[in-house]
Each structure stands twice: as structure tokens, then as C-alpha cells.
Symmetry: C2
Subunit: 431 residues, 2 copies
């Protein structure tokens, strides 16, 4: 069960906000040696690691067109249809993130603006396992497609028959991803970092994964590859008041808890009755869940905390900086201004986290582990660079020339000053 | 002098685009031990390192109000006035980067939007040395101020008299930075990472620095601190055609070369005559420059390359991904669509890089070392998180409920499905 706390002193908030510790010591050497092997031996190394970790010998990592065609036949019409519905919502929301070019004349004759350019080569990692995370293919593939990324490589581990789940292949095809590779784990990240005979080297790597993949992405940073966001176990914080429906809140807490044994859920309320009822509901719903063994362990890392008021609960939430924040409170929309640190926020009784996980349109790749204090979730922005441009007219340089000269001189950068002086002199002579 | 190349084979572009190598092996242990010391001993460690590296014993690191007041008197009225002019342009351009809230109804009853929130605690590092980089105070302080960052801490090393250059203090005051600390080098970054009795722990660290500071910022990432962008030596690439004015181009190349011995400048042209004339101009202007010893060494890392056409030069530039790109070519504005990888672009004969360095309004904190392929320069975006919100009505969850249920089921996350099912059932019973 969740640990229960009543009106803790603000001094104790820090320890209440601590995430379950992750020990990375043991895996760092292993991941580093996988990187070294893949860097030197390319596909040969990938083959060895795939046999070792995925228990299958592959001679070709690339998914063929016939494999994709076959996969499309294996996915039910009903599932295809709802994946398309979700993809339309995700496309609509991420398309709205496109920016118009605004040319700003900061001084007469000095024109400055920004233009977006897609990151040309991106890698998407999709974890394997029994459940196929095709929703993450939507969340990363759609904004990459809107941004106009030229080369998109998707890596996902093969099963023991050397296959990737059909729903993943169908979804990748739907969002226009043509290059799919049957490679998983840190060897996939190493492949995208260095490039091999088959796998392209990319500029930025996206996607979730286990601790090995997470560590490998951090390691890729050392090789000048960018990554989406630093990762950690998933988490939700729910603030519930008397207007909340305990059955709903319990279902939201459990949908987070089933993710993994290291998931964390936090329940805040100003009502002891509400906390008790939600706990009873959790017990009841837990019994019915196929993944209840996982959820039970995750709940042991989890906390329900009685606080004095909803305002105090929001302060606590900002201190915790949750990946997902559900406001099951009356007039939730009136509290949005007070939310400072969160990845994605769900308002009211009918906005479950799973809506954002799948189909409402928002992205589900979000900052965990307190990173909501200093990182945004994935959005269209994550797939572009914003380049600044400036066009200064003759009149413009006359207007700001003196300013630049004096500032450069004060910084003792006389060549910087001279770059303006030669132009001003030239224009004087022109007259 | 610059190395000269004529119409190199495309196979050789990769080696031509290599940046001067930086050896970080030796400094990593030193920076790590400084981090350990500051983490454990706080101010006491800062005091020891400040004595060791800055040759001054400080009992208080915080700049007092009287020091700031005194500094304001020491800066000339003329310099104050141009710093204000530059600050207005920078403010205008960065204010234009503010985003309006757009509520998107992705499906009837499903409302999604983003809201920006300032990163609450930020640290700004300003290097010391003989020249005071007050321009960087503008470039980081102004967007932080527009974003609404609550706590801004500025660190800069003291001189041997225990002072910070008055122009830095004046500029910090101008942009509203109240907490200034006389600490430099990797110990300053360690202070901002862990917090000490005097220096606040921050969420994100901005600003340039030497190799120690750069490595320290990378190390800060391991402690969940975000940083602006990975750093490397500054660089410019100029594309010049027959319409360019060799005197101007030479002055731009030299203004980059004077930054440091590891700066790199690249000149591309479709005209051998233009290249020759620019080289002659470089020689001529070099003699007059106070920092010509630095510039000479930087020019040895630098290249002038004759290419077959302006289009080929732009391809090369995209391959190189320069921090600064100057298009000294006819109708430069017609080529902007082709620029894919660059930090900041300067169009035509009257847009010198130093305009963007100081006063036109664009930011001068830009991706170097090829990072323009996968990172944007600093902008207002760098100081905010974009939080997604969703508000789903009863009707909305009815509309997308089935989609979520089927997708969750296919991913074998039954608690995710249940969070929707309990709501749909409740609404059925309500009718």
C-alpha cells in the first residue's frame, strides 16, 4: 500500500519528494564496452549483442517491405482505425506548434527573425517486451514528420523469432517511417551514435527504454549526439478534493503504478475522507488488474499525503515537479496559473492520464524525476533548430554602428569594432 | 595564414570540417575533485579555490549594493548609453519570441494547449579576464528577465583586488540581476550545482567559459542540472562572391579569429580572385590589431576553400554547420531557404557578425563545434518549460474513450484502459 502522511512539516517535503534511487554503477562499464564494440565492429558487434541479449541470430537488421506488408495484415481493422484516430489528434496538436516567421525591425534598418529547420537525421528507440509500445511511435514519429526530418531511423529489439511486433510496424508505416532496424538495448543506441554498415548515424536520439538504454543515451551525449530528455521512471501526482470521484482517482493512480515496479504515484488531498475512499478503491481495483504484482510494488514507493489546503497541495506539487499532474478538484481550470513545474497537466474528472498517453493529442514523452523543473516534454520544438537571421541595411548599420563599436572597444575586441568601422567608413566615402 | 583548398572532392569535406581537437583528459579529474570539495565543504572550498586560482582571499562572495553603486559611477556615460541601446534591441527581439496560448480542440470536447513557465532558478556564468564580457550579461539576463525567472544568480571570477569589472556590474543591474557572486571557474559551476551557504543551487546553468567551465557544465548534467548548450570554440563561416567587399569579409574573419587561438574561420567562394583579395586584406588589417598574435594562431586552424558555385558553398556550409554564417553574396536573402544547419545567419554586406554579437537584437550564445545540426542557440525558449494541459469534457471522453481503451488493451496496459472504462460506465449510469 501507499505510505500515508498527514500534514507534514514543510521541512520534510524534500525527503517526501525523493524518487526511488536507481543504481547505475554496475551497468556503466557494460554499456561503455558495448559502445566501444559497436564503434569498432559495426554490424558484427550488433549481431553478437543481438544473439546475446535477444536470443536470436539476425543476418539483416533492416525490416523489409514484405515484413511491413505482412505486419499490416496482422493488425486488426479495429486497432488500425483507433491508431489512425489518435494519430489525427496528435497531428492536429503538434501542427499547432508550428511557428510563423516574424520579422522584427529592432532598430530602423535592422531586421531580425527566426526560422525553424528540421534536425535532419533522427533516431527513435522503441522498447520491446511483450507489449508493443506503438503509441510512442506516434508520439515521436508524428512531430518528426511535421518538422520535416529527412532521415528517421527506428530501432526496436526483435523477438526470439527475429520479428518486431506488427502494431509497431503498422504505426511506423502510418507515420512515414521507412527505415526500421531490429536492434535493441544499448547496442541500438550505440549504432545510432556511430553508424554502422546498416544503421545510420543520427543527430538526435529519442525514446524511452530501460536503464541500459537510458544510460546509453546519456553516453551518446559525449559523442555530440543530442537526446530528447533525460529519463527516469514514470510518475503521476494527483490532487483530489471533495469533488473528486474516488473510483476515477484510484484508476488513474493504478494506471501509473502498472508501468513498472519503479513507478511512483503521489496522492495529495485536503480531505482525509477522500484519501481513505481512494485507498479502498485502489484495493478493490487492484485485484482485477493483470499487472497487479507490478502495481503493488510500485505502490510501496508511493505516498498519499493529507495537506491543509488545495493551495498547499499545489505548492507541494510544484516542489515535486511531477511528470503527470491530475487536478481532480473543483474548478481545476482556475488553478492552472499556479502550476509552475509539471510535464503535462490533466484537468477535472474526465481527463485521465491515459488520454494523454494515447489519444488526446498531447505528447506522452515527458520529463520525469523532477526534470519538469528544467525541461519541457517532447514537442515539435524537439525536432527543429531555430536559426536566427539578420539583414541590416546601409541605414541600419549607420544606426547601430556606433553602439557596436563602443561595446566592442569596451570588451577589448578591436577586430569586432573594426568590422563595423570599415563599413561605416566605406559608406561615408560613398556619399 | 589560412590553409587554401581548391574545389576539394566531396569525400574530403568531412576532414575539412573537423574542428581543432580539444583534449579534456587532464582536466576532468581536477574538475571532479573541485565538485567533490564544493559539495562537501561549500563556501570553505570556494574560498580555497578562489585563493588558488584567482589569487585573492575573499570572506564574502556576494557583491554588495555599495559595490554595484560604485561600479555604476565608474562606467562612462557613453558606454552606459550604448549598453542601454543594445539592451532595448535584444529585449525587443526576445520579447517577440513569446508564444500566445492556443487552445486546440483536437476532438469535440477534447481541449489541449501549452503554457510557458519560467525556469525558477537559473545561474549565469560570465568569464573574467582583462576584457569584461558584459554583452553576455545582456544576452542571458534579458531573456531570463522576460521569461520571469524568479531567482537569477550570476557568477564571475574576481580580479586580484577582489572586484568584478564595473561594466559587468552595471549591466547586471540594468537587466535586474541582484545576486552576483565573485566566484569563477569550475568552482562557480559546482557552487551553482550543489548550492553553498551563499550561492543558491539552480535548475539550469548558462554562459560561456574556458575548458574547465565547459567540462564543469557537462558534469553538472550528472547532478540533474540543465545547461544552455554544449560549448566549443567560436567559429564563423563566410560565403563570398564577386559582389562581396574583401575589406568587409576580411574584417569579419578577423573579428572571429581574435576570440582565441582555438577559434576557427572558414572562407568559401566561387571566385579565386575574391579569395586572394580577402587574404591580402587579412594581412593588411592583421597588422593593426592589438590581438593579432591570437588571430594569427587562429588563422592557422582556418581554411579558405574555392568551390564551384554558391550552391555548392551552401551545401558545404550545411555540412560544416557553422555557429555564425555570413552570406556576403548577391541577393543573399534568396538563399535563406537553403540554409539548414547554422546558429545565426548574417545576410549581405552590411550585416557583420559583430552586430549580432552586441546589438542587433539576436542572441550571441550559439551552438559551436557542429552542434548547429542538433541544437538551437539560446532564446527565450531556453528559459522556460512548455507545459501541456488538457481539459476533457464528459462528451470529450465519450468521443475518444473507445480509442484509448483499445490502444491500451493492445499495449497490455489494462489499468490504463480501466481509467477510461470507469468513467464511461459512470457516465452511462448518469443517463
Amino acid at each position: 500500500m501507499m505510505k500515508q502522511y498527514k500534514c507534514p512539516n514543510i521541512k520534510d517535503w524534500k525527503s517526501l519528494c525523493e524518487r526511488p534511487l536507481q543504481n547505475q554503477e554496475n551497468l556503466s562499464e557494460q554499456v561503455k564496452s558495448i559502445f566501444d564494440e559497436v564503434k569498432i565492429n559495426g554490424n558484427k558487434a550488433l549481431k553478437i549483442f543481438t544473439e546475446k541479449f535477444d536470443d536470436v541470430i539476425l543476418n539483416d537488421f533492416k525490416v523489409s517491405q514484405s515484413e511491413t506488408d505482412e505486419a499490416k495484415n496482422l493488425v486488426s481493422g479495429e486497432l488500425k482505425s483507433v491508431i489512425k484516430t489518435a494519430s489525427e489528434n496528435i497531428r492536429k496538436f503538434h501542427t499547432s506548434q508550428q511557428e510563423e516567421k516574424k520579422i522584427i525591425e529592432t532598430t530602423e534598418g535592422v531586421f531580425c527573425w527566426r526560422e525553424n529547420r528540421a534536425i535532419e537525421n533522427i533516431g527513435i528507440y522503441i522498447p520491446g517486451g511483450t507489449a508493443p509500445l506503438f503509441s510512442t511511435v506516434l508520439m515521436l514519429g508524428i512531430p518528426a514528420n511535421i518538422a520535416g526530418c529527412k532521415n528517421i531511423a527506428l530501432c526496436s529489439p526483435p523477438d526470439k523469432d527475429g520479428k518486431i511486433n506488427p502494431a509497431i510496424l503498422f504505426t511506423a508505416d502510418l507515420v512515414g517511417i521507412k527505415n526500421i532496424f531490429k536492434v535493441g538495448g544499448s547496442q541500438a543506441i550505440a549504432g545510432l551514435t556511430f553508424g554502422t554498415e546498416t544503421i545510420p548515424k543520427v543527430d538526435k536520439i529519442f525514446g524511452p527504454g530501460n536503464q541500459y538504454v537510458t544510460f546509453a543515451k546519456q553516453l551518446a551525449l559525449n559523442y555530440n549526439i543530442a537526446i530528447d530528455i533525460p529519463a527516469g521512471p514514470s510518475e503521476v501526482l494527483v490532487i483530489a478534493d471533495e469533488s473528486s470521484i474516488p473510483e476515477f482517482v484510484a484508476s488513474d493512480l493504478l494506471s501509473q503504478a502498472e508501468h513498472g515496479i519503479d513507478s511512483q504515484v503521489i496522492l495529495l488531498s485536503n480531505s482525509e475522507r477522500v484519501i481513505n475512499e481512494i485507498n479502498i478503491e485502489i484495493e478493490r481495483q487492484l485485484k482485477e488488474l493483470p499487472r497487479n504484482e507490478i502495481a503493488k510494488i510500485a505502490l510501496q514507493n508511493s505516498k498519499s499525503i493529507l495537506l491543509n489546503s488545495i493551495d498547499e497541495a499545489i505548492d507541494f506539487s510544484n516542489f515535486y515537479a511531477p511528470e503527470h499532474l491530475i487536478l481532480s478538484i473543483e474548478n481545476a481550470e482556475n488553478f492552472t496559473d499556479k502550476i509552475i513545474n509539471a510535464g503535462s497537466v490533466f484537468l477535472g474528472n474526465y481527463s485521465p492520464e491515459s488520454a494523454g498517453d494515447y489519444a488526446s493529442g498531447t505528447n506522452h514523452t515527458l520529463p520525469t524525476n523532477g526534470f519538469a523543473k528544467n525541461y519541457s516534454g517532447v514537442s515539435l520544438d524537439s525536432f527543429v533548430k531555430k536559426i536566427t537571421f539578420q539583414n541590416i541595411t546601409k541605414n541600419g548599420i549607420k544606426n547601430i554602428g556606433k553602439t557596436i563599436e563602443l561595446m566592442a572597444e569596451a570588451e577589448e575586441l578591436m577586430a569586432h569594432k573594426n568590422a563595423v568601422s570599415v563599413r561605416l567608413k566605406y559608406l561615408e566615402n560613398e556619399n
